[in-house]
Symmetry: C2
Subunit: 282 residues, 2 copies
């Protein structure tokens, strides 16, 4: 997905929010805003938003000297999600369509996104999403590809959401590789977060090599790119991964909640709609 003009004030908002989490020093926060301001002219609208995000969050790390501002928040979100795990497992076990319920739960987990949301309530959002109609639901096609797949590449998004991903992985019934970011960026999942979420019990965990809050192929390592090209089935969680991969030349199943107006418009859905969408069906 390309960058839209309204993404630019949003980069500034995100930078401010992330800088405030990273430091209490107002001078450093101002310097972050100065730097991002000076960067605006060089932002290409042809790039994907997370390519710019990559530079924004790198600047925040450099200026504040804090490489993992969301560490504590990520731990808290994982702990909260883990506390909900038994209840959600039971919900899946009691449901008429276990797989679809697990997909809904995995999408609900996507609300734990500190790039977009300032505040969220995971329990409230879960209740809503379990009853909400999908704006797109390529579920039949998903089941069809799943039945034929020997292995699955599952692109994770946020720490905490990863616990909800575990519940879906347990329903897929195929070997899964779970993909995380190379370094901490916002509250995105890295290897340690995936392990803390119990993903290591149900999947192989690898890094994509991306330092951006998204899977952007030209920022990924070669091992990941091989895996991505060869995978029978790719599941992509969240907005960042969608922004990075919406135009790739392979079939990808995107699972997300459209939390920002630009992505909602790009997908031709309404804000807060939930989506299971296959782009590039071959």
């Amino acid at each position: 997905m390309r960058t839209y003009l309204e993404c630019i004030p949003c980069f500034m908002q995100q930078a401010f929010r992330a800088a405030k989490v990273a430091t209490d020093d107002d001078e450093k926060i101002k310097e972050v805003l100065n730097s991002i301001g000076e960067m605006v002219r060089s932002i290409s609208l042809d790039n994907t938003p997370p390519e710019t995000g990559n530079i924004v969050y790198q600047k925040i790390r450099e200026i504040t000297g804090n490489n993992d501002p969301y560490q504590k928040i990520k731990k808290d979100n994982i702990d909260e999600a883990l506390s909900l795990y038994p209840e959600l497992k039971e919900l899946i076990e009691k449901s008429d369509d276990r797989l679809l319920t697990a997909i809904r739960i995995a999408i609900a987990g996507n609300v734990i996104d500190l790039g977009v949301n300032k505040n969220f309530n995971i329990v409230d959002d879960l209740k809503k999403i379990l009853k909400q109609d999908f704006a797109f639901c390529d579920y039949e096609e998903f089941k069809n590809q799943l039945s034929k797949a020997k292995s699955i590449l599952y692109l994770g998004d946020n720490a905490g959401e990863s616990v909800f991903d575990k519940l879906l992985i347990e329903e897929l019934g195929k070997p899964v590789t779970y993909v995380v970011r190379e370094i901490p960026v916002i509250n995105d999942c890295v290897i340690a977060d995936a392990v803390a979420s119990g993903i290591d019990e149900v999947a192989e965990i690898i890094s994509s090599g991306s330092t951006a809050p998204a899977t952007i192929l030209n920022l990924c390592n070669l091992e990941f790119i091989d895996r991505f090209e060869d995978a029978d089935l790719v599941i992509s969680k969240g907005q960042g991964n969608f922004e990075g991969l919406s135009q790739v030349n392979r079939s990808v199943f995107f699972m997300l909640k459209a939390k920002c107006p630009v992505i909602a418009r790009n997908l031709n859905v309404k804000e807060n709609d939930i989506v299971l969408k296959s782009i590039n069906l071959y």
Copy 2:
């Protein structure tokens, strides 16, 4: 009021929104964002936010070549407010405390603020504010000063809100001078808007000389400054005027709805609280 760090991303948001109203040309909108971005380093946190706003909106005029992007929107807002006038007049006539009801209505009109709000519904807001408790209500002091005042200086804010101001002016029972901006800036009231709102029937109308979306004394003309210093009673509507005047050395009655988190915090109230507050009681 000084500028806070979180005002900076907000300037960028405001610039984007105003540039979009001013032009359909994406390259010009991008150039506005580039320019405001490059300006961030020079923003002094010691200045009031509308002093920066003054430069932001000047840049938008220069780059887009549109000196009055909100002209049509202002006319529509004035027309909508005028259509509500008879009903509101009746409400005042039937109320136990005509003056306080008129103050509430004048504050409700302050929701017509296109610097802060993307969307508003004036009828819904009116209904809420007519019942809402004041976070600060220096009403006794206001009545006391009003009874002694020979004349009143009334600092207007937005076009459309001006119709609601007329209703309050009619209850004041003293000669009123209504003050507007020198040139169109966002949807703020200029002389023509005040006349279209019928203010000329109830008050003298003057310009403060300010080109900013606020009354900032060092941007005002000398005639206004004399009037401001000499006035028996000054009523200041809205956030912009509060930001510009909250630290002046004279008594001013601020009437506003706290629509932004920074102003709410500065006033020690909650967002969306309504306020009749005298600052600098002498």
